[in-house]
């Protein structure tokens, strides 16, 4: 079960995470470079800002919001469909604890694999920034890498991964809740799926604020 969920929640999300991270990293670095017209600011500041934006906010939060849409809606509709087609009743009648059976592997998979996805996203984001700057001839490789390494604080990685684990738990538990307690037919499964994504996203934003306040300030 856990391996299936790792595949479903984790591996299947790699393409969208890779695509989003590379392009967003590229755009962050280009936008930063375009706004750096003061001669007082060293060129490597672009790399530093790209690194900070990606590690602190883009990868853990924005990618988690994307995953709330992809993974959250999938989970809500999967469990919701099981509810309306009586598959959950079948589990209960067999004597299976359906909440445990359906949700625990998903929660474990998200807690284990979301940090891996986010680290992957961080690398690709910074690589995207590198590609955009170097291909556009805006910076040299050395300057960009110097920027990435400047004022690097490993605590930021810890902060980002802590957020990621919390967001993974939020996405899976909220989506499972809306799927599990759906009533009605296929239309209601769709509504539950949408609601799961909206609520997960809002809770992620609130949790992001609280965790940032607690860990960074």
């Amino acid at each position: 079960m856990l391996m299936d969920e790792l595949q479903f929640i984790g591996i299947n999300s790699i393409p969208i995470v890779a695509l989003m991270s590379t392009f967003m990293g590229a755009v962050i670095s280009l936008q930063t470079a375009s706004n750096m017209d003061s001669p007082l600011l060293p060129a490597y500041t672009v790399g530093y800002i790209t690194q900070s934006s990606i590690i602190l906010e883009f990868s853990p939060t924005i990618i988690s919001l994307i995953l709330a849409g992809k993974v959250g809606s999938n989970i809500a509709s999967e469990i919701g469909t099981m509810r309306i087609t009586e598959q959950i009743d079948a589990l209960e009648i067999m004597g299976v604890n359906s909440i445990n059976h359906l949700m625990l592997p998903k929660i474990l998979a998200s807690i284990l694999y979301f940090p891996v996805l986010i680290v992957f996203s961080m690398f690709l984001g910074m690589f995207g920034g590198f590609l955009a700057l170097v291909i556009s001839d805006l910076q040299t490789t050395e300057t960009y890498i110097l920027g990435l390494r400047s004022w690097f604080d490993p605590y930021n990685i810890f902060y980002a991964l802590t957020k990621t684990v919390a967001f993974g738990f939020i996405i899976v538990s909220i989506s499972s809740f809306y799927g599990y307690y759906v009533k009605g037919g296929s239309l209601d499964v769709g509504k539950a799926s949408t609601k799961a994504v909206v609520v997960s996203s809002v809770v992620i934003l609130i949790a992001n604020f609280i965790i940032t306040k607690l860990m960074l300030l």
Binding site: T81, M82, T85, E86, Q87, D89, A90, E92, I93, M94, G95, V96
Partner: protein, 255 residues
């Protein structure tokens, strides 16, 4: 044997079951019949613990299911097989995995023993060699038969079938009815079938309970249902002119 004593059930302010009581003997096919919305499915769901009753008792061979702790209920539930109206097969699993599921969850069988049991159950419902199919690749009748195979995989003492013939053509419905009857007699299971299919009543109804307005309105067998003068039964069973004609000719023959 399953005994139901004075079951009352309400949803919000609406009472659905009123003091329902009955005994369902083992080795017999017990039918719960009635019009839609009269409470027969609610009664069945109360009996398997999907709904909690407001008052009353449900006894599985003398064990009071209603007053049990959750962990003790799980033990009884492993003795229950259920065939759902929509089959309720796990659609991410193959036919074989569906039948194997309860075995892998609750037994310590070896892989070989599990495979043998799965093959036996599938053969019992004439689905040998269909192990690798997914539910979406099966016809409605096949899905019901997989549902039966999964329900009997754990050698249940009690078998519940919710509208086993709904959505099936008459010929396939007869196949499903025969399977339910054969399995009940062969293994001495207490079988409870919720239906409003009169063919099923006449084919397999060893013991029939008619639920009307949330109450047990009538009790008998498939023979006595033809001769009863209960007006609600008449209105339900012999609703069409065609059925009324059949009934009068049957009555003549019985006389």
């Amino acid at each position: 044997m399953i005994s139901v004593r004075n079951i009352n059930k309400t949803f919000g302010k609406q009472q659905v079951l009123y003091d329902v009581g009955a005994d369902f003997q083992s080795g017999r096919v017990n039918l719960i019949i009635g019009q839609s919305g009269q409470g027969k499915s609610v009664l069945a769901k109360c009996m398997v613990g999907l709904h909690e009753v407001d008052s009353g008792q449900i006894l599985f061979d003398g064990r009071d299911f209603t007053s049990m702790e959750k962990s003790d209920r799980a033990e009884i539930r492993q003795e229950i097989g259920m065939l759902f109206q929509g089959s309720a097969l796990f659609d991410s699993m193959t036919v074989e995995e569906n039948v194997k599921f309860p075995l892998s969850m609750f037994t310590k069988m070896t892989k070989k023993e599990m495979q043998d049991r799965v093959d036996f159950c599938l053969e019992r419902v004439n689905l040998q060699g269909r192990n690798a199919l997914y539910p979406s690749e099966c016809s409605g009748g096949m899905q019901k038969r997989v549902g039966i195979a999964r329900a009997i995989a754990m050698n249940p003492k009690y078998l519940f079938c919710d509208e086993p013939n709904s959505g099936l053509d008459p010929k396939t419905a007869i196949v499903i009815d025969s399977l339910i009857k054969d399995i009940t007699y062969e293994y001495g299971i207490t079988t409870i079938v919720i239906t409003h299919d009169m063919n099923s009543v006449m084919e397999i109804g060893d013991h029939v309970i008619f639920i009307h307005q949330g109450k047990k309105w009538w009790e008998g067998d498939r023979h006595s249902i033809i001769t009863t003068d209960n007006p609600e039964i008449e209105a339900f069973v012999f609703a069409s002119e065609f059925m009324k004609k059949i009934r009068s000719s049957l009555k003549e023959r019985i006389k």
